[in-house]
Amino acid sequence: MTETLAKDTYMTTAIAGALRAAMAADESVVVLGEDVELSTIGCTKGLVEEFGADRVRNSPISEATVVGACVGAAASGLRPVMDLMFSSFFYVAMDQVANQAARLRYMSGGQVDLPLVYFAGTGPSGSAAAQHSENPHPILMHLAGIKVVFPSSPGDAAGLLIASVEDPNPVVFLLDLMLAGAKGPVPTDLEPLPLGKAEVKRSGEDVTVVAIASAAGTALEVAAELEEDGVSVEVIDPRTLSPFDWDAVTDSVARTGRLVVVDPARRTCGAAAEIIARVAERNWADLKSRPRRVTWEDVPIPFSPVLEEAVTVRKDSVRDAVLAGVEEKGAG
């Protein structure tokens, strides 16, 4: 294993570093999007100075066509990385994501590889309100044909971004904006982390908590607190949602017999629903209590801080769900 670049690397810096490494390693990698030269989020900062205006290009506000252009470019020998800035803007370009990027390889009978990455900041970032706070991963998971990466730490983000750029398929890489200011260790010598591999962020015996992106940190805090109460919580971070590491979840629930899913997305037809359905299919006999989920409420993200907090994932809800699962008598 490699030594760490720094113990305290920001998530955005880690991603920028990974992107720089990917561009240096492969000339066909290009970066485009609105303001990628100066970089609003910081993940493409400095790239134009290093790699030139041909490979790093500011694009107009034309998301549908730029997203679709990545498909045409990927089919023609480039490896585009497009920064969509906020994931809410995927909706503007959804046809080119859903009907084109996610379909062309399959519809062609596998004739073409489409190595491209759509990068976006995502989720609430503090009163950005409904049109700048979506988490689109459940929709992207449902589409099929697009890989979805949604990491929880700078180290994971860096390794997964390298792998995303190297992957021959369309990948949506999401940066949870709640983590934009988070820090963590990143290896100096960046290596790809495989897509489709979950990580057990904390081992435990009593209950499995599957927690996505920023929810992983919340789950870890809850786990640490509950240890003092004698509850042993295992925290699994899927890291990539498509492909999904179902075995990691199944194996864990087979041991713990209990499941709580923490998904920063609206409830209905979200990732938590899917994880619960799979566990019901695979781990029926293992389950000692009903599976539970902690998600956003089924409303748009409101503006006012008190309202935003009310509808998103709160630590106390996670704690309550874990305790309820542990305390519930086996049934079913």
Partner: protein, 322 residues
């Protein structure tokens, strides 16, 4: 245009300026949730255009919407309360800076999606046309938004159905931190021509010039003559959003900024009015003071208002059927 009309135009610009200055101060003090895009420097566009509208006429606005809303008559108290996330705000704290609406004043909404208002304005015009009303809709959008495909579609739809919609592009030359001309082919006003729609460029820092162009377009629309495109050249004195410097660094030449500040739409209009004897400098100062007081009162109202109850977050998604 009576003297009073002129002072009314100035007063409205002064109200916007005072509102935005207050918002800026609040942002700096860290007491404002979210992020804000200020309209300072562009006041003549919103005020000039809205000055020829009736209360029944409608507008759609943008992420940089405070000025449009105030120009159309929105209540600064309810706006400020919304910006502070209060229960008494226009949207009960659910919308915030980019989502303020007042349907009673024909304000169909600011919009956080660049270009998002173009289809909505088109539909507003469609309703007026089908229902046989003589209302018009002014659709504000930016130079950056002019590269969204919905502009093309909205122009086409408005043209074939002869809709009473005025597409008003505020060209402040920047799309966030990008110079718009580097990502935009040709002149925006020219994009109307292929659809048979009149397209004009106007000095967006000259409130009377904007007013005149808008008046012509509005008259045409009311008379059933269909849509128009107006491109108003202007400039934002501030950043794309408050606080951007930390990330963007400087990206506009200082001379450019200075040049445009020298063409400040308020100072310029005041000076012209003074020159023409419409009012004295002191009278203008009084107006600015009055509007400043109004905004301070709005702030006090907002500040004293309660935060919404957390449970209210679950309300308002659906209307109940009667």
């Amino acid at each position: 245009m009576t003297a009073a009309d002129n002072l009314e135009l100035f007063a409205r610009m002064a109200r916007i300026r005072a509102f935005e200055r207050k918002v800026q101060a609040l942002f700096k003090a860290g007491t404002l949730p979210g992020f804000v895009h200020l309209y300072i420097g562009e006041e003549a566009v919103g005020v000039g255009a809205c000055s020829v509208l009736t209360e029944a006429d409608k507008i759609t606005s943008t992420h940089r919407g405070h000025g449009h809303l105030l120009a159309k008559g929105a209540d600064p108290k309810l706006m400020m309360a919304e910006l502070l996330g209060r229960e008494t705000g226009y949207c009960k704290g659910k919308g915030g800076s980019m989502h303020i609406v007042d349907y009673s004043l024909g304000i169909l909404g600011a919009n956080g999606i660049v270009g998002g208002g173009l289809p909505i304005a088109t539909g507003s015009g469609m309703a007026d046309r089908i229902l046989g009303r003589d209302q018009v809709t002014v659709c504000f959008f930016g130079d950056g938004a002019s590269n969204q495909g919905v502009l093309h579609e909205a122009l086409n739809l408005s043209a074939i159905w002869s809709l009473p919609v005025i597409f008003l592009c505020e060209n402040n030359h920047y799309t966030e931190w990008m110079r718009t001309e580097e990502i935009t082919a040709g002149e925006i006003a020219d994009r109307a021509e292929a659809f048979g729609i009149p397209g004009v460029q106007v000095d967006g820092n000259d409130v009377l010039a904007v007013r005149d162009a808008a008046a012509e377009a509005v008259e045409r629309a009311r008379a059933g003559g269909g849509p128009s495109l107006i491109e108003a050249e202007t400039y934002r004195h501030h950043g794309h959003n408050e606080g951007e410097e930390v990330f963007s660094g400087p990206y506009r030449p200082q001379e450019e900024i200075d040049e445009w500040i020298a063409r400040d739409p308020l100072a310029r209009f005041r000076d012209e009015c003074v020159k023409e004897g419409i009012a004295t400098p002191a009278e203008f100062e009084q107006i600015q003071e009055r509007e400043g007081d109004l905004i301070e009162a709005a702030y006090r109202y907002a500040e004293a208002s309660p935060m919404p109850a957390p449970a209210s977050a679950l309300a308002d998604l659906y209307a109940e059927a009667e």
